[in-house]
């Protein structure tokens, strides 16, 4: 404590806190990282922060799994075994519509979490419903594309390229399906149980999941569709 008294600008009468030397914290003057929760004198983090961190670790592990599928796709892209290649199979317009649907779904999910912060039940339910409809529209377009490919004799058994394609895009679609079920569960839980702390944490995890799916989709439409046909 004796060295902290030398800090310039410290208020008289207030026990000065050691400054955040690199201004990592977004706090006011003189109040740096040491007062943040989870370290130093800040005490333990709120459960919201801890739960979010744990779920973030899960999401990153999920993204690592997707990276393996992307690597497989990038390697097997040329292995068409005499069958149709990326350029003749992919429909840019369809992919663009899917992208916009998922992006607006992510945006609606953000609106839902804003409504949750403001404890506005009706806005929350409406935003979640919009999120669901946009996500379901995305899934419908993807399933239609899959059905169309299989009908054109370009199913996952046709070539290594198509196996990799169906694996990576289908895995993302599976995540979206699970996310839609989770979304409905969250709507029901908020409706039935109200804005309880544990429910709020669950909805926060769901919105992290939904936004992360959109990040993975950015990689899908870039690596699988756009680079697949360009290269």
């Amino acid at each position: 404590m004796s060295d902290s008294a030398a800090i310039p600008g410290a208020l008289p009468g207030v026990v000065p806190i050691r400054r955040d030397p690199n201004h990592l914290g977004h706090h006011a003057r003189g109040e740096g990282e040491t007062r943040a929760t989870g370290r130093g004198i800040g005490g333990p983090s709120p459960k919201r922060i801890v739960v979010g961190y744990g779920f973030w670790i899960f999401l990153l592990s999920d993204i690592v799994m997707f990276a393996a599928f992307f690597a497989a796709y990038a390697v097997l892209r040329g292995g068409t075994a005499g069958g149709p290649g990326p350029a003749e199979l992919f429909d840019y317009t369809n992919v663009a519509i899917e992208t916009v649907l998922l992006l607006f779904s992510s945006f609606a999910c953000g609106i839902a979490s804003l409504a949750l912060d403001a404890r506005r039940a009706l806005v929350f339910q409406a935003a979640m419903a919009v999120t669901f409809l946009l996500g379901a529209g995305f899934l419908a377009l993807e399933l239609r594309e899959f059905a169309d490919l299989i009908a054109r004799d370009a199913g996952p058994t046709r070539s290594a390229f198509l196996s990799a394609f169906f694996t990576v895009v289908g895995c993302h679609g599976l995540h979206v399906t699970v996310g839609l079920l989770w979304l409905l569960t969250m709507m029901a839980q908020v409706f039935a149980k109200g804005f309880r702390e544990d429910i709020l944490r669950r909805v926060m995890c769901f919105s992290l999941f939904w936004h992360a799916l959109d990040i993975v989709w950015v990689a899908v439409f870039t690596v699988v569709y756009l680079m697949g046909s360009a290269a």
Binding site: S45, L60, A74, L103, I111, V218, A219
Partner: protein, 154 residues
């Protein structure tokens, strides 16, 4: 209410858990994120289909736009900040990015070289300059895509 407070005292650290906020406080962030993401998506699709760009530059541009859009999502949708609450999240993200880079980049790199080395004998016949000190002789009269023998870049 009592149930909530019991829970709060049982397993929640002190400090306000969720702040009540006016609706629309964070709307600006989401709107900025949506606008930027739409812009970057449009740029990606335009670059992929345009004819005016030099072809080898297109994958580089696509990757750049994709990474930029992921950053936009992280900042404006997932609210990843440099604040103290997010230090652990940032560290985990950095580690995740490292793993993804090793996994994806390493796979593509290794498999590309394996393909290259296994194709070489077919393309270059017996003229594989594997001995040290033998200079690579590009053949001007052929001018094909595979002038260098297999393993020439070791």
């Amino acid at each position: 209410m009592s149930y909530t407070e019991d829970r709060a005292h049982a397993d929640v650290a002190p400090g306000d858990e969720y702040a009540h906020e006016e609706f629309g406080t964070g709307l600006r962030s989401y709107l900025i994120g949506l606008g930027l993401a739409l812009l970057l998506t449009a740029a990606s699709f335009w670059v992929a289909q345009t004819k005016i760009m030099w072809a080898p530059a297109i994958p580089v541009a696509l990757l750049t736009f994709a990474i930029a859009q992921m950053g936009v999502h992280l900042v404006f949708f997932l609210h990843l900040t440099s604040g103290p609450d997010n230090t652990n999240n940032i560290m985990a993200l950095a580690f995740g990015v490292l793993i993804v880079f090793l996994l994806f980049g390493g796979t593509v790199w290794i498999m590309h070289h394996m393909n290259y080395n296994m194709m070489a004998p077919v393309e270059g016949g017996v003229k594989m300059p594997l001995q040290k000190g033998v200079p690579l002789q590009p053949e001007p009269q052929r001018g094909g895509s595979m002038q260098h023998g297999g393993g020439g870049h070791h």
